[in-house]
């Protein structure tokens, strides 16, 4: 079996954060145009669009783009795993000749003026009935408490601590301080983390991602075509997905394992490398805990030692595994899997400015969705797979 060679040739990132008065569709149109310009393509040369959103986009995007004769067009939903998955499907489409240049976009606009970020997504939830309504009635409504439930299991099983989660937040903020596009750039300390209010104990405010209005798009094309375009190509060396299906019963691994185990193994096998070859890690960070468990599951440290690994300082600007080098969703902006992907493209190209990691020949992108239910991995490089 011959592996297809494809690459990311364009990146478009809109303004991020409390940008009011614009729809998710409007942000998406801008991001795709920016990505095409960045790649050196006209919009008429973009003949595929895959899109993903946390509720803001619909199939009207085609009309909003003024797109004619697209050869690939679909909405894709895998929550935080979507961005990585879109790249995979787009890559296989261009490798087969089905389309030649596919835009993959995430966009959302949940923030409205005068409404707190915490309420941005909550207002959309209808009242549940049946068994699942019991957990909600007892406090488990939405992602925050459900991730807290998973995090506590990890803490009780492996001795992971809130201070270790805090180390993730502090190091990512140190990266964000060097990212002009980050929403939160003021340095924080471990004491700031420990003093931040409970969202759902054991998770504090500074354990949780931001909420952002905006959009990110990338252009996927063949490796051959990417070489002739405007930007240094970012080659996709390997990719994978895993959706573990953890059961809630005796022996169940809820909170102890993510799909990074399976999607990482597939991606590493395809690329013919191991975790030890990864120079920069862009890890989906809806919560600090998600970073800790993903680092374990990719094999950057042993199972149960993710907290200690983070507390060692390994993830920060002077660490052994530069991680979430733009600040991640905790400190830069929340665009689901496009947050780690966009920063990975910047680092792989060598365009990170003050925060650029010198050794960036293999960049890992982790996408995590659901409550550790869905996972995608990409391994990116400025060098093409041999």
């Amino acid at each position: 079996m011959t592996l297809p060679h494809f690459a990311i040739a364009g990146l478009g990132v809109t303004e991020m954060g409390r940008i009011y008065g614009r729809s998710a569709t409007s942000f998406a149109v801008e991001a795709i145009n920016l990505a095409a310009i960045n790649a050196g393509l006209t919009m008429n040369q973009v003949d595929g669009v895959l899109f993903n959103s946390n509720g803001g986009l619909n199939m009207g995007l085609q009309r909003a783009l003024g797109a004619r004769d697209l050869r690939l067009y679909a909405e894709l939903q895998g929550y935080g795993s979507s961005a990585g998955s879109m790249i995979q499907y787009a890559g296989m489409a261009v490798a087969s000749g089905m389309a030649t240049a596919v835009a993959c976009v995430y966009s959302d606009a949940p923030l409205t003026e005068g409404v707190g970020a915490g309420a941005a997504y909550a207002a959309k939830r209808p009242r549940a009935a049946g068994i699942n309504a019991i957990a909600i009635a007892c406090g488990l409504a939405g992602a925050n408490p459900r991730y807290a439930l998973a995090a506590r299991r990890h803490m009780e099983t492996y001795g992971t601590t809130s201070e270790q989660f805090g180390a993730v937040a502090v190091q990512q903020r140190a990266w964000a301080a060097m990212n002009p596009a980050a929403q939160m750039r003021e340095p924080i300390t471990l004491a700031d983390h420990q003093a931040s209010r409970w969202i759902a104990d054991p998770l504090r405010l500074l354990d949780c991602c931001l909420v952002s209005n905006g959009a990110v798009a990338v252009i996927v094309t063949t490796a051959e075509r990417a070489r002739d375009l405007a930007q240094p190509p970012v080659h996709v060396l390997g990719w994978g997905q895993a959706h573990p299906g953890v059961t809630m019963e005796r022996g169940g691994r809820f909170g102890l394992v993510s799909g990074a185990v399976g999607s990482g193994a597939t991606a590493f096998g395809m690329a013919g490398i191991t975790a030890a070859d990864v120079k920069v890690a862009e890890i989906y960070d809806c919560y600090t805990f998600t970073v800790v468990i993903s680092l374990e599951d990719y094999g950057f440290c042993a199972k149960g030692e993710g907290g200690a690994f983070a507390a060692s300082g390994a993830l920060g600007p002077n660490g052994t595994l530069p991680t979430n080098t733009g600040g991640g969703q905790l400190s830069s902006y929340y665009m689901w899997g496009m947050t780690p992907l966009a920063e990975a493209v910047i680092q792989a190209r060598g365009q990170g400015g003050e925060r650029q990691v010198a050794d960036h020949d293999v960049v890992l992108v982790s996408g995590n969705g659901g409550i550790l239910d869905f996972h995608s991995t990409l391994l990116l490089s400025p060098e093409e797979r041999s």
Binding site: G130, G139, L149, E249, R250, F254
Partner: protein
Amino acid sequence: MNDGTQYGPVDRDAATATFFDAAARKELVVRACRAGHLSPPEALSCTTCRDDVLTWSAPLSGDATLMTWIVVHARPGADGATPPPRIAAAVELAEGPWVTTGLVHVEPSTLHAGLPLRVHFIRPADSEAYPVFGPA
């Protein structure tokens, strides 16, 4: 002390009438497949063998073990008093399936994985009765 009054109402639907009728009799039931495996009450496929033909089990013992929990702290009310926190947990029934619900009659600082628990039933205003768990 957390007596369950801070937990919200729950409605039944057509698929869960038997579960909530049992809860009203202070009985806890879960899903059972044709091979007799038990699955959590929300399951649509057997978590052991993936059989998709499930019925409700006979009433279970009500004994359980704490697996993991969260504490959702309340904000002070208009009278200045802070209501007790909601403590949501995943508990492992003695028979194997997990149930995700609230804890009662516990202080958050005393909780740890492995704590023995016993089922209680609460019925908030305008709600079905449903199972929660307290110390055994």
